[in-house]
């Protein structure tokens, strides 16, 4: 999907912490995905007759969470969880006007 997007667009922006560096979900990268699945569906509190969902309708989770630039070339990174509305506005205004986006003090933050 992401590769398809990259093929079809001139400018690709990684918007927000998860896109920029994997964000909080990447916290599971040091864990074995099977261990995560077992905790949630087998050994978790209150689970009765648990098992790991395995129907072909379900996509398999990737072993690791990847930031976008692991997979494709990214033109701009807009950090923040989430980036502020003002930062997105300023970024798009600059981009549409043909300028290299410049976010001043206070518009770039990582929380």
């Amino acid at each position: 999907m992401l590769r398809e997007l990259r093929k079809q667009c001139k400018t690709l922006v990684a918007l927000g912490a998860c896109a920029v560096n994997g964000g909080l979900p990447a916290q599971r990268n040091h864990l074995d995905i099977r261990d995560c699945l077992q905790t949630v569906y087998l050994t978790g509190l209150g689970v009765e007759r648990g098992f790991i969902p395995n129907d072909p309708e379900l996509p398999l989770p990737l072993a690791q969470v990847h930031p976008l630039h692991d997979v494709v070339k990214v033109d701009y990174f807009l950090p923040g969880c989430p980036p502020s509305a003002d930062a997105i506005w300023q970024f798009l205004t600059d981009l549409i006007a043909g300028r290299t986006p410049q976010l001043g003090h206070g518009l770039i933050h990582y929380d």
Binding site: M1, L2, C18, G23, L24, P25, Q27, R28, L31, I33, D35, C36, L37, T39, V40, Y41, G44, L45, G46, V47, E48, R49, G50, F51, I52, P53, N54, D55, E57, L58, P59, P61, L62, V65, C81, P82, D111
Partner: protein, 492 residues
Amino acid sequence: MTSSLEKAKDPTGLRRVVIEPVSRVEGHGKVTILLDAANKVHQVRLHIVEFRGFERFIQGRPYWEVPVMVQRLCGICPVSHHLAASKALDRVVGAHTLTPTADRVRRLMHYGQILQSHALHFYHLSSPDLLLGFESEVARRNVVGVLAAYPELAKQGVMLRKFGQEVIRITAGKRVHGTGSIPGGVNKAVSEAERDELQRALPDVIAWARTGVALVTELFAKDRATYERFGTVRSNILSLVGRDGKLDLYDGVLRARDADGKILFDGVDVQGYDALIKENVRSWSYMKFPFLTALGPEAGWYKVGPLARIQNCDSLGTPLADAARDELLAVTPGKLVHAPLAFHWARMIELLHSAEVIERLLADPALLGTDLVASGPRGTMGVGVIEAPRGTLIHHYEVDEQDLVTMCNLIVSTTHNNQAMNEAIREVARQYLDGHEPTEGLLNHIEVAIRAFDPCLSCATHALGKMPLEVEILDAEGALVERLVREGEHLG
């Protein structure tokens, strides 16, 4: 009470219709429908297709990080997770009673969030179906279409949400993913100027909320037969109620009723939730299926959320919203309303109720205090339960002597409604799809039923969330005839 359409007797030779992504909901899911050559429906399932594993990777983190970490489950109702985690960890730091100021600030934050989330859901996500029609032109069946056809109403929706977000900013420090609540209390006082700013906006907010309630009441009255019947399935209901039996979205005790409204249990301390509720797993969904232990998985599933809450409590405790509630209860006097579309009505009543509660909190002198944090003897575990916009939200943690989390169990609002949503779309399939060639408009009926529950599938899977929905049509030999994919990002 689980319906026959969960599993086809013999799936061979059936045609598979898929709705992916489910649009205008939060998170990522799809619906599959199995039809025979005469378009008779044999199986309908809502699949939640994401997995994130927050419950596992939170283990080993220091407990004070948890309220800011877990809220990243969701971008729409982060305050719910922020507060449910804080409430659970209040017990770990021994703060069994908060300071009056911390209690008011947290409540203000929470009701601000209920208001903004309900506004977002109704005006931005669901009103296109209700105002423009379930089968209206798909390119205009969105918030931009509503803005063109009903500009004043759409503007009120935007302004309502903005007010809720301002309440959150003032109490939590930031509109999305604030840091105001901490184990034991809050870290930010509300100033007089901030209070005054909110108070000035309030008369408009209450007026807009009343307009919203009137609108849904009118929609329901105009096409009562459809609204009452659409996807309606009877079930138990569950929610928190205040210790006085009135609606309390921030704190209280657990109460459940059966489909007739008879009390199943009441006044249960939330610390004992795990004896009352168990969860089942199905092979075809990453979202678990909770049920009331006493009734078992077949009969024990239930609804949560606005429609469950306003009927489960004795009254709402605010005059305007109570008057609106009386109108809803009059639909089926003495019986519970189970219609999924009545969720919209209940949601708008709660939006009005939240505005009234905010008015009350802003007038309370305790809100402006500066004694923000309480503490007491250190504990090792805690359960925090809150009524989030979408229903009962349960956070449960155990913490070791190194301050690290050793166990985390989350049952989020949308998960409680898993079976109810599945049953509602099966009923819609029986009512509208059976025997008909599935068109986009007919398939949108399925999505309308899902949207009524305002699901947050990101929260529900504790997964990384954007929720698309996909519909695939296969012919009787299993070959792909058509695939309708709705907007929504699908990484993978």
